[in-house]
Amino acid sequence: MMALALPLLVPLTTAAVLMLVRRHAVVQRWVAMAGAVLLLGSALLIFVRVNSAGVQALQIGAWPAPFGITLVADLLSAMLVVAVGVVGVAVCGVSFAGVDPRREAAGYHTLLQLLLMGVAGAFLTGDLFNLYVWFELMLVASFVLMALHRTSAQVEAAFKYVAMNLIASSIFLTALGLLYGATGTLNMAHLARVWPAMASSGIEAVVAALLLIAFSIKAGLFPLFFWLPASYPTPPAPIAAAFAGLLTKVGVYALIRVFTLLFQGAPPSLFALLLAMSAATMAVGLVAALAERDVRRVLSFNLVGHVGYTTASLTVMTPAALSGAIFYVLHHILVITNLFLVSGVLLRLRRSTEFWRLGGLRTSQPLFSLLAMIPIFSLAGVPPLSGFVGKLAIVQGMFADGAYGVGALVLVVGLLTLLSMGRTWAEVFWRPHVGTHDLTTPGTPYLAAIAGLNLLTLAMTVGAGPLVDLTARAADQLLRGDEYVRTVLGEE
């Protein structure tokens, strides 16, 4: 299916066009927006096709499967690429509210398109080495977006982020070298076919451990997440929103993909390790979130903690738990992107996201407060919003499998999330505030983007039934794996 290449070609073309018009800020914004809308459109096209006709594959250059590079879309990939499109549209939309002119001239829009391309590529590729290349593309774009700053805190954050991710890349590449040496292939479907024969050879444990470490750094799992809260709160809100919505999710996606495709029959110690890391991630992330007094740092630690939900469900490996995890990932992409956009409005209004500078927004900005309420309470998991549905699905999946301990932990962490977001709501919006006044208005582009994401969150809430059916099918596809493998290898 040729359309599989569109989510890569559209941002690439858009980036090239943006280079041509880099002197005209307004034109750039419109071109970037058009590119993001087209990306969303092509993602929807792929999704509709995958939903009706099953897994789709495209052999680049018509090289047959294990030899060339394959693009594959199963339901999980297709839904995630749609989410990339949504985040792209939202983030490009808020650039109409104004971007720092120096940053805009330095290629802000181009880099954002390349970032979207890297993320979409990582979701669509069927080859592990190609996944490494998309990782790097995405990282280079994010490095430069982050380093377009001058303040020492921002430069310092960027450096931590770069160093940690370069180490992760080296570890990933080491795993790929060993994997190729052992199996002679890096095509994921082909690997799934030949892997069972390697299972007892001892190389499995090494490769699995290396991949786990590399992807955990990207996903921000304990004890490898410390770069994340250090770096995410510093860039401007739209960039932070794109990073928070997409980058750690790529690590989560990679973990889901390799664990379901290669390591389903792996030794229990591997799952025990992942479970322990996930549990610690949830606990540490949310406790740290409660200790913070700055909206963006609270959000960053929530982001860290919630990654643990999905990876913990992955260790259960039942269709129900995995389905809940996929639902939660989709919900989280929308909501955390939205919340970082909300923090962008706070920055516009008060030039700060620290609690003591905020407050009183309920009376001074009633419309914005109303709009911000939905993502805040959706992340908190207040029924009936989408966060509640996702958590319910995860906990049900865990309890059904008898994983009561981790299920209970998810509930406790859910309570901590509620506390953390409830406190954020109270400090930022509800608490009366005397002193500084709002410097400006929230800005129509921000309000429109937040409202748009809110509509999608509400749609996920109202349409939770069909969506859970969809994620259940996606989980089923992942756990059985044979449709994916047969489609890629061209055996119908």
Binding site: F143, L166, I167, S170, G177, Y180, G181
Partner: protein, 114 residues
């Protein structure tokens, strides 16, 4: 030859990790460079060293003459070298930026500067 290359790769890893654990940014970057070179060598060795025939189909022959060298690891390494070079150059500039902003390249100083 395998053993020699494997040892070299191991030494590069060890030296790279040692330097990453040091406190100065310059050493961190050199360490990252050594680590990526060690990885490249590892892929090369893991792909198998064969010094018999090149992976090119000869005139008139229908297929490759076994044993031949596997070209894929070399292609992988080439890609990895290019990416690694770009990232290393970028992180050098960034380290320079950090040094200019903070006036020190001690990791602890960088952490304290916020």
């Amino acid at each position: 030859m395998h053993v020699l290359l494997a040892l070299t790769s191991g030494i590069l890893y060890a030296a790279g990790i040692y330097l990453i654990l040091r406190r100065r940014l310059a050493q961190l970057i050199i360490g990252l460079g050594l680590l990526s070179n060690g990885t490249n060598l590892l892929i090369f060795v893991a792909g198998g060293l064969t010094r018999v025939h090149p992976p090119v189909v000869a005139d008139g022959a229908g297929a490759l003459m076994p044993p031949y060298a596997d070209p894929v690891p070399q292609a992988l390494i080439l890609t990895a070298i290019v990416i690694g070079f770009g990232l290393l150059a970028f992180s050098l500039v960034l380290a320079h930026r950090v040094h200019a902003a903070i006036g020190s390249d001690d990791v602890d100083e960088v952490g304290r500067a916020r």
